[in-house]
């Protein structure tokens, strides 16, 4: 008997208890309930990961196991990858909940309950074994996220951010469900394993390919790939710090996980012959996302929006990694995204300190204001260097594997250089902003006509309690965790084995449907080699150089300014515009899929 359902049922129960404590009118029962819920979920996920081992835990809810010829039951299918991601989600939720207990004091019961529900939905999403459960938990986590982003609903920016976020992502979910409906119409199945087998037998026609395209779009909207990325800036820039930790840490990555999951369990058996074409599309999309995000981060002088753009850049790297469609790339993506998620969470806490102290997040206004915040500056600086890909942080190890995957594919040898460039530019944006805020170096950031209404008034200390160690201390713990993740012995081998099982569609189907143990061959992977250190040195060096150069006034070449302004102007804050871009992207992507994958 597997404990898989408890990993999300316990936090859901905790959320209910938290709501019930509302009449007590005290903060601590809400915090205790929420903290208990996520801690229990973390422990349960860890136990589940141990139970799964290298195999696959399957549970047909209600005992509706598949009969020959039909399967109408709902399955949880837990592989090491899904269980690991669930564990990461739950573990990251602990510091986020603690910070939430301090920072989100307005309506502690509702917020704590939704927060825990959000975590539970993300965990359940990682463990789902069929398309519809995947969709339901996808929607549940999205709705919770809309509410959490709009926590400070009385202010203009959070209200607008939540609206934009909710509208664009709802359209994405509709497209996803439309794809699921088309697929069901073709196959009459929803279980991932059964779908994979059915499609392997019947082959894929154009409708199936269109369904795949729509499902992919649904997940790419969540992951915020270009041109579906416009909502992310608005949502992440206005969310409270504890929510940002989870959003930037795991929420975006779950879109990539969903895409990888449906490709390898459902479509790979039928469309595997067209993998080279799909690889070209996904890698191109990933690189476009990565470079756009990095360029936007450099052009941005609002700290939280800059971090949001770094998130876009790194989702792009993750998409390139997944798009390599092989074991190395997937293992690299997993290691990279976990290591990087921890670092980004730490950066959000550092920015949170500034924001709570001065009630503003604009680099120009904050110039030199962080001089006395030594510990915060140290955490921020180390985290920014980790973003550049400094060894031995987890993001470095992950990027090394992604580079290996790219170098192994004929014709993709140029990709690692662009990935290094992305990390360098994203890191440079962070380092430059850090140097300005925490050291007061260089020229003040230019007045940004597109940014916050910035008047050169005196910035006042709004609140000094954010300086207490629990806030930057959380950041320090997160950075340390990312370092520990990179140094974890046996990490590369274990992740590669998990990735091998993940990419083995027939093994997955056999384990889910026939109860046979999967035994995917462990692939020959190795830790970071000399080239990885070379690329890392290159991106750290380039980041420092770009950051130093960027501290001068008018560093942006005048030829580039109109282009950057035009790309930034796409972030109009109008949900209709974002949906229009999304519709264009959906059309192009569906056409590309239909033309190349049939």
């Amino acid at each position: 008997m597997t404990i898989a359902p408890l990993t999300f049922l316990v936090p859901i129960f905790a959320a209910c208890v938290v709501v019930l404590t509302a009449p007590l009118d005290r903060r601590w029962p809400a915090l205790a309930g929420a903290l208990g819920g996520v801690t229990a979920a973390t422990v349960l996920c860890a136990v589940l990961l141990g139970q799964v081992g290298g195999g696959l835990e399957v549970l047909w809810l209600g005992g509706w196991s598949p009969q020959p010829g039909m399967s109408i039951g709902i399955a949880l299918a837990v592989d090491p990858f899904g269980a690991g991601l669930a564990l990461f989600t739950a573990a990251l939720a602990i510091p986020a909940t603690l910070l939430g207990g301090w920072l989100l004091t307005g309506t502690p019961h509702q917020v704590s309950a939704i927060f825990v529900l959000f975590v539970a939905a993300m965990i359940a999403f990682c463990l789902s074994g069929d398309l519809f459960t995947l969709f339901v938990f996808f929607e549940l986590m999205s709705v919770c996220a809309y509410v959490l982003v709009g926590y400070r609903v009385r202010e203009r920016a959070p209200l607008e951010g939540a609206l934009t976020f909710a509208i664009t992502n709802s359209v994405g979910a509709i497209v996803l469900l439309f794809g699921i409906g088309l697929l069901y119409g073709e196959t009459g199945q929803l279980n991932l394993a059964v779908l994979g087998r059915t499609l392997a037998d019947t082959g894929a026609n154009t409708t199936v390919v269109v369904a795949f395209a729509l499902i992919a779009v649904g997940f790419l909207v969540k992951a915020a790939a270009v041109p579906f990325h416009l909502w992310l800036d608005d949502a992440y820039a206005v969310a409270p710090t504890p929510v940002c930790i989870l959003l930037a840490g795991v929420f975006s990555e779950l879109g990539l996980y969903g895409l990888a999951r449906v490709w390898w369990t459902v479509f790979e058996p039928a469309l595997g012959d067209h993998a080279p074409q799909l690889r070209a599309i996904l890698v191109a999309l990933g690189l476009a996302t990565a470079l756009t995000g990095a360029a936007l981060a450099l052009a941005q002088h609002h700290l939280q929006r800059m971090l949001a753009n770094v998130t876009i850049a790194h989702v792009g790297i993750g998409l390139v990694a997944v798009g390599m469609l092989d074991v190395d790339g997937l293992a690299g993506a997993a290691i990279f995204l976990v290591g990087d998620g921890l670092v980004k969470a730490a950066l959000f806490t550092c920015v949170g300190v500034l924001q709570h102290r001065y009630d503003i997040a604009d680099v120009r206004a904050l110039h030199g204001r962080g001089r006395d915040l030594r510990p915060v500056a140290v955490v921020y600086g180390v985290a920014a260097l980790a973003v550049c890909g400094l060894p031995p942080f987890g993001s470095f190890t992950g990027r090394a594997l992604i580079e290996d995957a790219a170098l192994k594919q004929p014709g993709y040898a140029w990709v690692p250089a662009l990935l290094a460039l992305t990390s360098a530019l994203a890191g440079a944006a962070l380092l430059r902003a850090g140097a300005r805020v925490f050291a007061g170096w260089g020229e003040r950031a230019p007045v940004d006509p597109l940014g916050e209404a910035d008047e050169d008034e005196d910035v006042q200390v709004a609140d000094d309690w954010a300086l207490r160690p629990w806030m930057w201390g959380t950041g320090a713990v997160l950075v340390a965790a990312s370092l520990a993740w990179g140094l974890l012995p046996g990490l590369v081998g274990a992740t590669a084995r998990a990735a091998a099982a993940f990419t083995d569609a027939s093994g997955y189907a056999a384990a889910v449907l026939d109860g046979r143990a999967v035994s995917a061959l462990p692939p020959p992977v190795h830790g970071p080699g000399a080239t990885a250190f070379l690329y890392a040195a290159g991106s750290v060096g380039l980041a420092l150089a770009v950051a130093a150069y960027g501290l001068r006034a008018g560093a942006l070449p005048s030829a580039a300014r109109p282009i950057v302004d035009r790309v930034r102007a796409l972030h109009s804050g109008h949900p209709g515009d974002y949906v229009a871009w999304g519709a264009l992207g959906t059309t192009v992507l569906t056409a590309l899929f239909a033309l190349t994958l049939t």
Binding site: G150, A162, L177, G188, D234, V238, R305, L450, G573, G576
Partner: protein
């Protein structure tokens, strides 16, 4: 029959998204989102429909083996309706806040976030 269902579903999706893109009022926008969502109801119910079949409730008049429509898609549609209701509620709550605080429900006039 099937072609008509797919056609109607695709039309609802496209017209709904068109409405979301061009909307000048948040309530109108939320309704358009509902139209787009309705495309999935039509699609799901359409793919599960069988001509001449009855509701999938076995009783003295309907026996196992009789032609019935697909119950799975009906369950999916119900779940989908619940999801959509939740999203609509959240969006309308935000709209009310926008109107109460800032006196506008036009997404163009909110415009606090740019670049």
């Amino acid at each position: 029959m099937t072609a008509v269902t797919y056609g109607v579903a695709a039309w609802l999706l496209v017209i709904g998204i068109y409405g979301v893109v061009t909307s000048r009022h948040l309530v109108h926008l939320v309704v358009c989102l509902g139209v787009a969502q309705a495309s999935t109801y039509v699609l799901l119910l359409g793919v599960g429909y069988r001509v001449g079949a009855t509701a999938p409730i076995y009783s003295t008049t309907v026996h196992p083996g009789d032609p019935v429509v697909d119950p799975v898609v009906q369950a999916l549609t119900l779940t989908d309706v619940v999801v959509q209701a939740t999203v609509t509620a959240v969006l309308l709550a935000l709209t009310i806040q926008a109107h109460k605080r800032f006196g506008t429900a036009d997404p163009d006039e909110l415009a606090a976030l740019r670049g």
